[in-house]
Structure formats: C-alpha cells, structure tokens
C-alpha cells in the first residue's frame, strides 16, 4: 500500500475522498484550512469556500439530504457561527453520510479564543464526536464517521486539534474510486426535514420539535453501544491503582511521558463521545485515582465523575478542572507533573532543560513588509487621531494594527463585529466619531449584515474596507469578491461599488499605496453625515509576489543619517519591520535584506531623511 508523508489536514481530506464524499464546503480558519484545499485534486468532488461556516454546513446538509456523502470543514470559532443549523440538523438527522470537522486550537496559537468545540457539538447539540490522537487515526475516523453517520442517521463530528491538523507523518493511502461519485437523489421526508411547530398525530399531538428531541435522546444509548466496540477506545493494562485516561491527543502525551519512568500505568484511551460507559466503568472499578488528559475543558472528566456518581464508585477523578492547568495546550511536561503529583514516590527521568539566562523579547506579529494594510492603517490612524475618533476592528491581517506600535483599533472580537459595534457606540451617544474597519473576506462572511444594518438604522460612521481580494490571513483562499473559486475558475465577482450603492451608503474608492489621496478621502469621509464606505483596494502583497505581479515600482531607499533626528514617526506610526531603530545612535536604518522597496517610508518621513 502506498504511504505518503503528509499533513494531518491532507490525511483528513484523503479519508473523506476514499469514503466517496461528493460535496465538501468550508470557510478558511487555522488549523483547518488545508483540509478543504486537499479536495481540489480529486475529480468528482465539489469543494467550495463558502461565504461562512453556517452556509458551508447548510450546503453540506443539502447534499446529505440529497443522499450523497458530504463534509463541512471549519475551525472552532466557525462552528459557533454554524450553531443555528447545527441545532436543527441534530433533530432532523441526515440521509447521506454527513461529517462535520471542527478543528480546535488549544493555546489559541492562531485564534481569538481557545474554546473546546466538543461542548458545543456534544454537550449542547448532542451529536457524536470523534477526537483523533494522530493524523492516521483522524483519517480512519473520517472513514468510520461516514459509515456510522448513515447507520445512525446522525451527523458525526470530528474534532482534531492543531497538533493533529498540523502534524506531518506517513499516511497509508487506500483505494480512491471516482466511480463512487454517482449523482444525488432527492427523497422527500417531511416528517424529518420540516422543522416547524406542527402537531405529530402519531405521538398524541405533541409538537414536532419535541418528537424529534425524543428521537435524539433515544439515539444516545445507540451511540454509547457503538462506542463500546469502537476501535478508537481501548484499555492498556498496567500496575497500581492510579489510572490514566487519554482523550484524543492527550493519549499521545501520556505515551510520551511514559518513556520517562519505569512504572507501567493502566491507560484508558478514549476517542469517542459519548464515552463507552461499560468500558470506562470496567477501567475505573479497581482504581483509587484517575487522571484525565484532554484538550481543553474537563468534558470527559465530568462525564466520568457523573458515571461514578450514578454507579456508586468512590474513585477520585482529576483533570482539567484544577488538578493541572485549566488553560493552555497540553504538554508532556504537564502530564509528567500531574502524574508526579498523584504519585510522589514515582522516579522520573526528567528532562534536562537549560534556558538562556537573559531575557528573550517577545515577537508579536505585524503586517508583512510591503503590505497595503500598513499604509491604510497609517492613514486611518492620522485621520482618527485628528478627529479624536474610535476605530472598531475586525478579524484579518489588519487586526495587527490594534497592537503596538499602531494601537489603532480599540476592539477586535469575531467575524463581522466591527460595523455593528461602531453602530452601537454611535447610538449610545458617543461624542467622538466612530470608524469601523473590515476585510473583504470578512465582509462577505457576516460583515455585510452589519453594513446593511448601519445604513438602515441611519448610523453615522466611516466603514473602511481593506480589500486585498483574498482571505490573506489563512493563506490566500479566494472568496466571493475574488473573481475566482477554489479551482481557480473565473466566477462572478461581487461588485463592491454597486453593493454599497444598493445598500444605500456613500462609496469612495482609494488605492492605499496612494498615501495622499487616501488621507484626503478618509478625512472627507469623516466629516460627512451618514455611512460612508471607503473601499481601499490593493491585492495582498505576499500573494502578488508569489504570482510575480508587481504592485509598485521598486524604489531603493536609504536613510540620510544627517537628516534623521530619531523622531520615531516612521517606527511609531508606520512600523514597517524593515525600519530598524538604532538606540545608541538614536537613528533609524533600513534593513536592506528584508526591505521590499515599496518606498512608502520615504513619503512618511517628515524630514525627508529617507529616499
């Protein structure tokens, strides 16, 4: 059998392709992005970057009800966006196998939070969840999930964490048969697919939501029975009365930690929710203490506590609820410390780590060198400062304008929150002018609702659209304003000017590299009544350089040391990483190895010292 060294995300896509998935829909988000991109190479699969995760899950559900296999792919924050449809499809069930991938980011390495999506999809929506410990297991789980989804009529959720998605390992490739992609076939099933408060005659006239809720509750025991025999749950025998439970990736950290001591602890490896209760009880019955390792909330820990309470077991159960840290990503060190805490006599061959004895400054992210967002943020900052305005920010590369040195945006929440929050502040009677900044992909995701609302409510704000024609933050995924789709085919492109006009807002268009016009336009917009949409269009510099598209005439610049007086304007207000402040000379110099010759700093320097 062929084996390939691939990313966990590619393994997940492969698993779905081998399962004969016909429709795949998602919205980009780290750590899940590469899963959907992985479908492009398989003919017969329709894969799409949907406008947002709710749309993606609805597209996948529609395909499933048309009796083909479908998959929806998103990160945890995205699954939040899809909650509304999730809370309906759990009641209706599915037809063709439906799998939802909800990738988590413990530690919040590339996210706005480090939430545990198992709570949303399992505790809240009552859907079965598979939690892989490795890329190979994730692939096996995808295949199993499609089978079980059709067997149980339920949507199965797979929750890989960042370290599974972004791991690289040798993955076995099994047969991929494009002949499996037969077309869909719709079969009406109104008893299920019409989720409305209508009376169910056969059940004494209770309303359909209650009837379907009853169906969902009854599914729990069926799922639990499946878990007992699941290849993803197993017991490894050991010695002593302390047992370790490894959920998903937590299992691998236990195995890694176990190489550092000679004692062999009993291990319960869990990969399914609901947990297999019989198996869990068999594991716990002769133990005094159990330590559960899971990402990132005490979900399984609490289920085990409940199980012990119901069965009169007095075993102590520890885990994320405080025995070891309740926040942050699991590490082998964390696991070792927790085991040592439970067994103080344990001899551990500890890691011999020697850190450097000087302080190592943190490295925060910023815009890339040459990025048009930096030029735009610089001008928004000038205008906002002059007008004493407040800037509401949104998700995207431009959100780094909220950090030092610019500290421009006052808020960064979730996709599309900038415009409505600015609207709210305006109607709160805020005396300062309000600005909102949003990216193009975010506008099509959920931002557009806020824009329509701002116009409809007659709010007063300047909306700045940083339009770089791609979803840059996650690695250049096209969207409804790109003019191309996932397959790089030419597709209809939203006309932003007409969109603004249709919504009823004033529209200005600027080139963010044109510093002077951008400043004047923003200033004018800030002085006008109503909602003004300022569209600042320039392709993402990084994407353009990869495509060998020139966005500006290269301008070789250097600093004239006689003229530079160390005023720091270029550092504080512009902050290009190629500008380096030399604290001893109190001068700025340009790092020629990283400068991309955009020449913007030459315009920004008030003393004409750069040129």
């Amino acid at each position: 059998m062929e084996k390939k060294y691939i990313m966990g995300n590619a393994a997940i896509a492969r698993g779905a392709a081998e399962s004969g998935v016909k429709v795949a829909a998602g919205y980009p988000g780290t750590p899940a992005t590469e899963i959907l991109e992985g479908f492009v190479e398989y003919p017969g699969i329709h894969a799409e970057w949907s406008c947002n995760e709710k749309v993606a899950l609805e597209v996948a559900l529609g395909a499933s009800l048309d009796n083909v296999r479908a998959i929806a792919v998103m990160k945890h924050n995205g699954t939040n966006v899809s909650t509304d449809i999730l809370m309906h499809l759990n009641y209706t069930g599915v037809a063709g196998g439906l799998v939802l991938i909800s990738a988590d980011d413990p530690g919040g390495l590339s996210s706005q939070n480090e939430e545990d999506s198992r709570i949303l999809v399992h505790t809240y929506a009552n859907l079965p969840v598979l939690d892989p410990c490795s890329a190979a297991e994730a692939k096996a789980m995808v295949k199993e999930a499609f089978e079980l989804s059709e067997q149980t009529q339920m949507c199965f959720v797979i929750r890989p964490v960042m370290r599974v998605c972004h791991s690289r390992s040798l993955i076995e490739f099994e047969d991929y048969d494009p002949a499996r992609f037969t077309g869909g076939k719709w079969r009406d099933d109104r008893e299920r697919y019409i989720m409305s408060a209508v009376e169910v005659r056969e059940l004494g006239g209770i309303k359909r939501p209650q009837a379907r809720h009853r169906w969902l509750n009854n599914k729990y025991s069926e799922l639990m029975a499946l878990g007992e025999d699941s290849p993803f749950n197993s017991i490894e025998e050991g010695e002593g009365d302390i047992g370790l439970v490894g959920c998903g990736i937590g299992y691998t950290y236990i195995k890694e930690a176990a190489t550092r001591f000679s004692k062999r602890y009993p291990i319960l490896k869990l990969g399914t929710l609901p947990i297999p209760e019989k198996k869990a009880l068999a594991f716990m019955k002769d133990k005094k203490e159990i330590i559960v390792f899971e990402e990132i909330e005490p979900v399984v820990e609490n289920l085990l506590k409940q199980l012990c309470q119901e069965n009169g077991l007095s075993v102590k159960i520890h885990g994320r609820s405080g025995f070891y840290p309740s926040d942050g990503e699991l590490t082998v060190r964390m696991v070792l410390e927790a085991i040592k805490k439970a067994n103080r006599e344990l001899k551990v061959d500890d890691f011999n780590s020697t850190e450097v004895d000087i302080e190592v400054p943190v490295r925060t992210r910023t815009q890339c060198i040459g990025c048009a967002h930096r030029a735009l943020l610089y001008n928004i900052k000038r205008v906002a400062r002059a007008k004493k305005g407040i800037v509401f920010g949104d998700i995207g590369c431009h959100d780094a304008g909220s950090f030092k040195p610019m500290e421009l945006q006052s808020t960064i929440y979730c996709m599309g929150s900038s415009i409505p929050m600015a609207t709210g502040a305006f109607f709160a009677g805020e005396s300062k002018p309000v600005f909102s900044m949003v990216g193009d992909s975010t506008l099509f995701h959920l931002g557009i609702n806020g824009l329509i609302n701002a116009a409809y409510q007659k709010s007063n704000q300047v909306v700045i659209l940083g339009d770089n024609s791609t979803t840059a933050m996650t690695g250049f995924q096209p969207h409804a304003g790109s003019g191309v789709n996932l397959y790089d085919e030419i597709v209809p492109k939203v006309d932003l000017d007409k969109l603004g006009e249709a919504i009823g807002v004033r529209v200005y268009r600027i080139d963010p590299y044109d510093l002077k016009t951008t400043y004047e336009t923003l200033k004018k917009a800030a002085e006008e009544e109503g909602v003004t949409l300022v569209i600042a269009s320039k392709p993402c510099f990084l994407m353009a350089s990869r495509q060998e598209v020139e966005l500006f005439k290269p301008l070789e610049v250097k600093v004239d040391e006689e003229k530079c007086n160390g005023c720091m304007i270029c550092i504080n207000d512009f902050g290009c990483p190629a500008l380096v402040y030399e604290k001893h000379q109190k001068k700025v110099h340009i790092d020629s190895l990283s400068c991309v010759k955009c020449g913007l700093c030459a315009e920004i320097c008030k003393r004409g010292a750069i040129g």
């Binding site: 780290t30 590339s110 690289r168 195995k255 850190e355 000087i358 943190v362 992210r365 815009q367 402040y581």
Partner: protein, 194 residues
C-alpha cells in the same frame, strides 16, 4: 536511535522547506518520522518553529518535549535563544548570524540583545554550538530565500547522520524547478561554511 530536531526562525525564512527535506531524508532511510510546525501567523513576522522527530521506535507526540531535542537550528538569533531550552545535554545548535528586531525592541520597550550577547548567552547554557552567516551567504548567492538550504548544507557537514549526496538530491527534488540549481548551490555553499 532517535534524532529530535527543532528549526526556529521568523516567517518567510523557508523553515517548512528545510523541515520537509530533513523529514523526507529520514523517511528514505526507513525511520519513523513525525513532525509539526506552528504556522498561521507565520507570514506576518511572527516566530515559526518546526519540530521533526526521527526515530527507530514509534513516536507519539509531534511536539518535542522541552529538554530533549538533539539539534536546534536557529535561523534567527532571538528565535535560537527562545528555543535553547529545547536542547538536551548532548544536543547542539547551529546559529545563523542574522537578527530581526521585534516590534517592541524597535519601540525601545524591549532591548534586542547584541550579536555578542546572543552568542555568549547561547554558549552559557553549556550546549555545543556553531555560528554561521547563512543569510549573508544566501544574499551573496543571489537571494536571502536560500538561507534554509545554506543551513541544511551546514547541518550535513556537522552531522554524520545527514549524508551530503542524498540530502543534496532531496534539496533538488523538493525545490520548484526554477530554484533547483540555485538551491543546490546554496546547499553546497552551506556545507563549505563550516
């Protein structure tokens, strides 16, 4: 036999390519390989760290525990220091003498250590190390983008595990066609730098 390798740098230095070459090399030799990297914010000047685990035994966690890496490649000075604690007692590091200031150091909030401070802080941990000017060599050869292959060349010279010929072949094989010749040249020059 196990070899845990950490490659630490900043976005845009070609960390992932270097990690792929090393992984593929070990796979070709029949070892178990498991890797991971922090990406996402990497293209915007953040830190990028790759972990590559090579072993003749099963490997479980893609993350190398702190204090157990055998090799640390610091593509940038500060990122080397940030990851020095990854090395085990017998581990060694390769420091690329290239320094990218941070936002905070530019603002004077943090102080970016001098080249000498970085070299001596690394030495004080007691680990063996080598300093090379990979980025400068790459620039001399035509592009700083070749920093990664220059460092791989240096690694092939320092570590008997990584054979020169087959590593060079892999550098060629895994490079986009138009960079193949340049990357091989970079690799050979890195080998000579030590």
């Amino acid at each position: 036999m196990k070899k845990d390798i950490v490659i630490a740098g900043v976005g845009g230095q070609g960390n992932l390519f270097a990690s792929n070459v090393l992984s593929q090399f070990a796979i070709n030799k029949g070892f178990e390989v498991l890797g991971t990297e922090t990406i996402g914010a990497a293209q915007r000047g953040g830190s990028v760290v790759s972990h590559i685990r090579i072993s003749d035994m099963p490997v479980f966690s893609p993350l190398i525990p702190r204090g157990s890496a055998d090799v640390l490649i610091g593509m940038e000075g500060l990122e080397l220091l940030r990851n020095m604690g990854m090395l085990n007692e017998g581990g060694y590091y390769i420091l690329n003498l290239y320094f990218v200031p941070t936002v905070y150091s530019n603002l004077g909030i943090d102080s970016y250590p001098s080249k000498d401070e970085i070299i001596s802080a690394a030495k004080r941990t007691g680990r063996n190390g080598y300093e090379i000017e990979a980025t400068h060599k790459a620039a001399e050869l035509g592009s700083t983008q070749m920093t990664n292959v220059v460092l791989l060349g240096a690694l092939a010279k320092l570590d008997g595990f990584f054979e020169f010929e087959s590593m060079r072949d892999l550098v060629k094989l895994l490079s986009p066609q138009k960079f193949q010749e340049k990357n091989m040249l970079g690799f050979e020059n890195g080998y000579k730098l030590i």
